[in-house]
């Protein structure tokens, strides 16, 4: 089966173009946008880990190593598309337009962190694994019924493929031929469980066969491959040709979350040969004349400021409001809940 789903790549580990058919489609604007966003989200990610260590953030799920997969896919979207992320996909959602400060808030136990910017269809991160796949199919179905050209993307991990909701989501999407892209980041582990214990299939891409939908396996650390294959899947979806399953093979460099210790379960050597996705695109930029020292310095400086400002915004955000415990359960608060709220606020007054 593996041979049916060869891993597609456009640039190799040394940053050489290995699939010349894409040469004409690659331009400076695209390469710089990919690079810029990967730098942005890595800066964000590293800052978040630091903040967590300093006790300024709650448990945090880092995505270092997966930047190419997240940025490449997010840049392939149109602004009216729907995004269904997991807890590890804030690299993608920030690229798509989610505020960094709000994302910090999420990791600081603030429900405000789930609220997307007006007009951006970004769902709250799926915490129960794989539950977002049917949602993505449903939102896409609505677009199809309205006759738009918008589509959905559902992000999910290798572990998520074991849940029933993965199966039911893909089956619905294929039966109703809705415009959705199922974007799998196969980072080799679900917390401590390696993919060989998660499934007996050689690839995730081949699971598409069960749904009669196209499946494609790509090098998820090659941002160009991710970008173009995602774009292709979206074109397919927008044209009414239904869903696609993309397996982007990648690697989580760090821990599952800041509460996790990967040295307990992951052999140290295991990821050593993997070339960092940002290094990859850097090598490519240098090899093909896209590298511009000054520009790189500029965007790094800009990004550092952006992240610092987001930290400030998060830390100066109005404190959590006890009303929010009660106010968003129903559009109109039932009497008994109103009474609970009133009694509790009165209790607080008395303290």
């Amino acid at each position: 089966m593996e041979q049916n789903y060869p891993m597609k790549r456009i640039i190799d580990d040394q940053g050489n173009l290995v699939d010349a058919s894409f040469e004409d489609m690659i331009d400076e604007k695209l390469v710089k946008e990919l690079y810029y966003n990967m730098i942005r989200i890595r800066t964000y990610d590293r800052k978040a880990i630091n903040l967590q260590r300093q006790g300024r953030l709650g448990t945090y799920a880092p995505f270092e190593g997966q930047e190419a997969a997240q940025v490449g896919s997010a840049l392939a979207l149109n602004s009216d598309d729907w995004v269904f992320p997991t807890y590890r996909d804030h690299g993608a959602t920030i690229t798509f337009g989610k505020s960094m400060a709000r994302t910090f808030l999420y990791w600081n136990g603030r429900v405000e962190g789930c609220v997307p910017p007006e007009g951006k269809n970004i769902f709250p991160p799926a915490v129960p694994i794989a539950t977002q796949l049917p949602h993505a199919a449903g939102a896409a179905w609505a677009e199809k019924l309205r006759g738009t050209r918008n589509a959905s993307i559902a992000y999910f991990g290798d572990g998520a493929t074991s849940e029933g909701d993965f199966h039911e989501g893909l089956n619905f999407a294929s039966v109703f031929q809705v415009p959705v892209v199922f974007f799998n980041q196969n980072n080799g582990y679900a917390i401590s469980v390696p993919i060989e214990k998660q499934m007996n299939s050689a690839t995730i891409a081949q699971k598409s066969v069960a749904y009669g939908m196209p499946g494609v396996r790509i090098d998820g650390n090659d941002c160009l491959s991710v970008y173009f294959e995602t774009k292709k899947a979206f074109d397919h979806a927008r044209n009414g040709d239904g869903p696609t399953l993309i397996e982007a093979v990648t690697w989580r460099t760090g821990a599952h979350t800041t509460a996790d210790d990967p040295s307990k379960y992951r052999p140290k050597e295991q990821g050593e040969h993997i070339v960092d996705p940002i290094t990859r695109i850097e090598l490519f930029m240098k090899n093909y004349g896209y590298w511009d020292d000054q520009w790189v310095q500029d965007i790094k400086a800009k990004t550092t400021i952006e992240v610092e400002q987001a930290v400030e915004e998060m830390e100066n955000f109005p404190p959590p409001n006890v009303n929010d415990v009660f106010d968003h359960v129903f559009a109109e608060m039932p009497t008994q809940l109103a009474e609970q709220k009133e009694a509790y606020l009165a209790h607080l007054e008395r303290q």
Binding site: W82, V111, E112, C114, V115, P116, N121, F123, P124, V127, P128, T131, L133, P134, H135, A136, A137, G138, A139, A140, W141, A142, E143, L145, R146, S152, G164, D165, E168, G169, N171, F172, V175, F176, D324, H328, V329, F330, A331, E332, P334, T335, Q336, L337
Partner: protein, 338 residues
């Protein structure tokens, strides 16, 4: 029903309907009126639903609006969430309440919580319909009444009509509600009687019970199929000189505490009847409500006449599981002669 306006009946705008017809009529009406309405479920299209609740609807409104789905409850509820968030108003039919459990995670974690998790940015205005309850000699597992699994789930409302008028009115109210509503349809009453039901649009307010029989000695609280059990028991009790007031609760979350408090404070005694298991059953909530609101009025411990703490038995024994008028009468006598 008491709500049926005389004018409705006089100018011919009512029709004799069974409960299942009233439900069908409510959906037809909303499919006509609101093009965001879409119905999803197993066998609801050509087949018109295993109970014929959607009979004729696909023919009239097309396969895009009345959709036969794959056999997958999590898929039905999960995609309905996406549809609801993205502008539609799905009605998801679950074939029997006993088969809703594969979708339990989607309901528990997403349907009910999405408003809260997004601070009302994303909302899930959807209706889940599920036939429920025992007493129709259905095959095993088809007879669960597990309403508590949904009343203990902040963010979703639960209604349970016992008659054609309420069924249509509550269903339309559910469809217009900005939040998710689970409609439990007591199978036993689907065809048990016909009533005059307005052919036009009307709603029955969610969150309001109804006094279906006035009385002075004891309050019976019931819903769904248990309302007629309560009525039969009340008749028998009357012969023994006991006057029963009956509350048809109609909405199981949020509960109409006022109607309960007022009635119990008047009668000073209460018997609660439900077919769900005793332990963890909604009857316990009602006991608490009476404890909270009417402690000093109570002249006897509250009685609960309920299904036992056993799985609903196979149909040859289900009569031994379900509350009967005779068991309710004993409960009534117990509280009256305490």
């Amino acid at each position: 029903m008491t709500q049926l306006k005389e004018s409705d009946q006089q100018n011919g705008t009512t029709k004799q309907m069974t409960m299942i017809q009233a439900i069908n009529d409510g959906m037809r009406l909303m499919l006509e009126e609101d093009d965001r309405t879409i119905i999803l479920g197993e066998d609801i299209g050509k087949n018109g639903g295993v109970f014929r609740a959607t009979e004729g609807l696909q023919e009239k409104f097309g396969v895009e609006r009345v959709v036969d789905t794959p056999l997958s409850e999590a898929g039905i509820i999960g995609t309905s969430i996406g549809l609801a968030v993205n502008g539609f108003r799905p009605i998801a039919e679950i074939q029997f309440l006993g088969f809703i459990y594969p979708a339990y995670e989607q309901i528990m974690t997403h349907v009910s919580r999405l408003r809260m998790r997004s601070m009302s940015h994303f909302t899930v205005p959807m209706v889940i319909r599920a036939p429920y309850g025992a007493g129709i000699r259905a095959p095993e597992i088809h007879s669960d009444s597990t309403e508590i699994l949904f009343t203990h789930m902040p963010g979703i409302k639960v209604v349970c009509p016992s008659n054609p008028y309420d069924a249509k009115g509550l269903l339309i109210a559910a469809m217009e509600d900005p939040d998710p509503v689970l409609v439990l349809e007591t199978m036993k009453n689907y065809r048990s009687k016909r009533e005059e039901v307005p052919v036009g649009k009307y709603t029955v307010e969610i969150g309001k019970g109804e006094i279906v029989r006035e009385g002075t000695d004891v309050t019976l609280i019931a819903w769904g199929a248990m309302v007629s059990i309560a009525e039969k028991a009340a008749e028998q009790a009357e012969k023994k000189g006991i006057s029963c007031e009956i509350i048809d609760l109609r909405t199981l979350y949020p509960i109409d505490r006022d109607i309960i408090a007022q009635s119990v404070q008047k009668t000073t005694r209460a018997v609660i009847i439900h077919e769900a298991h005793n332990s963890g059953g909604l009857g316990n909530d009602l006991v608490s409500i009476i404890n909270d609101t009417s402690f000093l009025y109570l002249r006897a411990p509250i009685e609960r006449v309920t299904g036992f703490d056993v799985p609903v038995p196979f149909f040859t024994l289900e009569e031994h599981y379900l509350p009967t008028p005779a068991r309710v009468v004993e409960g009534i006598e117990k509280v009256v002669h305490f």
